[in-house]
Symmetry: C2
Subunit: 441 residues, 2 copies
């Protein structure tokens, strides 16, 4: 989902179809400058759960330069044991942990959620790709805890043609029941609710089909929004809302290349798969009645997924703080640091939309957007003189700060120092996502 | 100002710097599908005040095909006496009327506001262009009622270089004092508050300089927002808020061609001067405590400036209704009907961004946006087979509905009938904006 997929208040998504998320924002805090650590699903989720950049936690590939990669079924890699995951950390604090939905941190036995801090799981190791033949490529399995209980398109029906599936309803039910079960105990709980219906092939359950003004994608967004509402209302009904912290975000910006299911990244450039704002700036709402001062406000200074992790560490000592200072945000694509944000400035060291091989078959990560030296189809190295944008004046990354201006020198000076330090301290993990599709060996 | 210039709630403008407009929206109704009648100032304002398309009320030019035009100082035309203006209509209903700020419906004596239904005026017949030499082109005059009281850049200072002027503060003071004076009488009042600080050269008063995260343009938006707050708080303080209807909108989408003062049109295509959504979809908020049911809600079905006029006619009998049915919206550029919207569908009969002559000197109405057959620099006639978009699924007008699809035929069938009827009934007014700049005679 993208920044522009949320509605309420004044003039976000024109269709205004996310009343529950809007209410969550009105009662909580919206973080306007929140970033994912990667514009693609697996690395983003690995970063969320480890608090470390994909290049550190191994969720990247060296197959090719600046290549995005995830965990298809063919992948042999996954999350390393020595990584300390959020549920593992919470387990030490006495939490009971459940994941509902998509995992994406590795398919093999040793990589599954129950080996990495979760006590319960209902969902799948991968997206609902398929249907596949029953031969070489089996359909994606669905698990209840450590046990496989069926497969997508088989026991867990998805009508890809009509875009209909009951899966999100099942995930909602799992979440509500888990909260109900654990509301009366003294033991705290952690629920990682990770539905995947807005990922292509987009689906919704029958009551949501055709409900949206935005087509199938909008139907799926409405059902997700409904799920968020069901979860928050459950917390209120059980009177545990004042001791439950809820955080909403997405793994990457909306995919905008598919005309039938295009999400919205609002005023931002491009979308999923890119390190432009449209690929990495995420909707992010924190909710905790009674604990969040000034409900309905917005904060800029909480820059990204790695922060969520730090924040949860703090929460174990029941503290919820906002950093008063900017921290740098690094934008990686595969093995390359493409850009850095510091304060309002974002410097692009490398730029690329996607390659001609994909463009030729109609895949375009930036449809309708063409900016010289930014969205071109060959990778460009600007390391000697990065392209600089002021995201306050120019959130769409359209008007680069002039190289010859005093502003350029003043902004780039701390950024250059930050990059030197970052690269000096970087210990790259073993790439887990090599051989990330059948075509690349 | 553009759709994307407003902040609050969830995820509109990333900088979130319009708390007063956001509060107004939370207490009122946001109209998500509200259009101006023209993507340029003079024709848009003429349409707002007459309730008629510029091609009917004469605010267009036949100098050139599909040419935008306004009222520079050299213009001899203006608003015709026989047009029934909103203040004239209200005068019949016993209202006392004042305009504060920019008029733009003609410079000559006979076209000024006090000849067309306003009882009071403080402002100028034109934007704050200049400074000019004192010879051939005098600076724009500023009026109090029928009397000229000075000129921009002379008695009414604007520091164009620093972007500083006290004008918006003067306009706020005028508005508040007018409301105070008329709050105790039994006679109803109408205030047309038309500040122009977000128009280039953008300005703000000293307390707002550097206050925004968005540069000078953001400073001006913040001061406007502050003015809206001052007006609403005055109504509340005088306890007349429950009998005062307030409507906020803009004359055209944000200009996006100026890197120093680029507004935001959110997810929409291009900006001011174009008939794409970025040029004509406007922020629009209606506020009337006690009268508006379900505060904070959004309505799609109140399609444009012409509706405001109808609505005010209804208000004279103290009624505020929302149409339950879609009405067609016509998108004109000068003398040409460029596009039509009906329901969720928008059909482009002509497309154009702007010409090569302007592009060569760096003026681009669609910076960074390139869509085949849409944003090109020559006018294209699609009348035989209009380009069709579904604005629910695709608010950015990126993915045309396929010509060969059943959807195309189903949607175009009523639109073709609507266009035939519109053209048959159209009585074009005498063009008032010919000779619209010195270069065109
Ligand atoms: Ca571990
Ligand atoms: Ca008249």
């Amino acid at each position: 989902m993208g920044w522009g997929d949320l509605g309420g208040g004044v003039l976000g998504q024109p269709a205004k179809e996310t009343p529950n998320l809007d209410q969550m924002a009105a009662e909580g805090v919206t973080l306007t400058d929140f970033y994912t650590a990667n514009p693609l699903c697996s690395p983003s989720r690995a970063a969320l759960l480890t608090g470390r950049l994909p290049i550190r936690n191994g969720f990247y590939t060296t197959n090719d330069h600046a290549r995005n990669s995830y965990t298809p079924q063919e992948i042999v890699g996954g999350i390393a044991d020595f990584e300390l995951l959020l549920p593992e950390l919470l387990q030490k604090g006495g939490y009971h942990n459940k994941i509902v939905g998509k995992w994406h941190l590795g398919h093999q036995e040793q990589y599954l959620p129950l080996k990495h801090g979760f006590h319960e799981w209902f969902g799948a190791p991968n997206c609902h790709f398929g249907p596949y033949d029953d031969g070489k490529t089996p359909n994606i399995p669905v698990y209840r805890n450590a046990e496989m209980v069926g497969r997508y398109y088989e026991e867990f029906a998805i009508d890809k043609h009509k875009g209909v599936s009951n899966l999100t309803q099942m995930y909602i039910k799992e979440a509500v029941e888990f909260i109900e079960e654990h509301s009366n105990t003294t033991k705290p709980f952690f629920l990682y609710w990770a539905p995947d219906s807005t990922h292509g092939p987009v689906y919704a359950s029958m009551p949501f089909i055709g409900k949206s003004q935005r087509g199938r994608y909008g139907d799926a967004v409405m059902e997700l929004d409904h799920g968020v509402g069901a979860i928050l209302r459950t917390l209120e009904r059980l009177a545990i809302d004042k001791r439950t912290f809820v955080f909403f975000t997405s793994d990457n910006g909306a995919a905008v290349s598919d005309r039938a299911a295009s999400g919205s990244n609002g005023p931002f450039l491009c979308g999923k798969q890119t390190t432009f704002e449209g690929g990495m700036r995420e909707p992010a709402i924190a909710w905790w009645p009674g604990q969040i001062k000034n409900p309905g406000t917005r904060k800029r200074r909480l820059p990204g997924k790695l922060e969520v992790f730090t924040r949860v560490e703090l929460m174990l000592s029941v503290k919820f703080l906002c950093h008063a200072e900017w921290r740098p945000v690094f934008f990686y694509r595969g093995n390359e640091m493409m850009a850095v944000r510091y304060g309002f400035y974002k410097a692009h060291y490398w730029t690329w939309s996607n390659g001609w091989d994909e463009i030729k078959v109609g895949i375009d990560f930036c449809p309708g957007q063409v900016l010289a030296n930014m969205t071109q189809h060959e990778q460009q190295n600007h390391t000697a003189r990065p392209l600089l944008f002021h995201l306050g004046r120019d959130p769409g990354e359209k008007f680069p700060v002039r190289f010859s201006s005093p502003e350029y020198d003043a902004a780039m000076s701390p950024i250059r120092r930050i990059v030197v330090e970052h690269k000096r301290n970087l210990v790259a993990g073993t790439p887990q996502l090599n051989v990330c599709d059948v075509a690349v060996q």
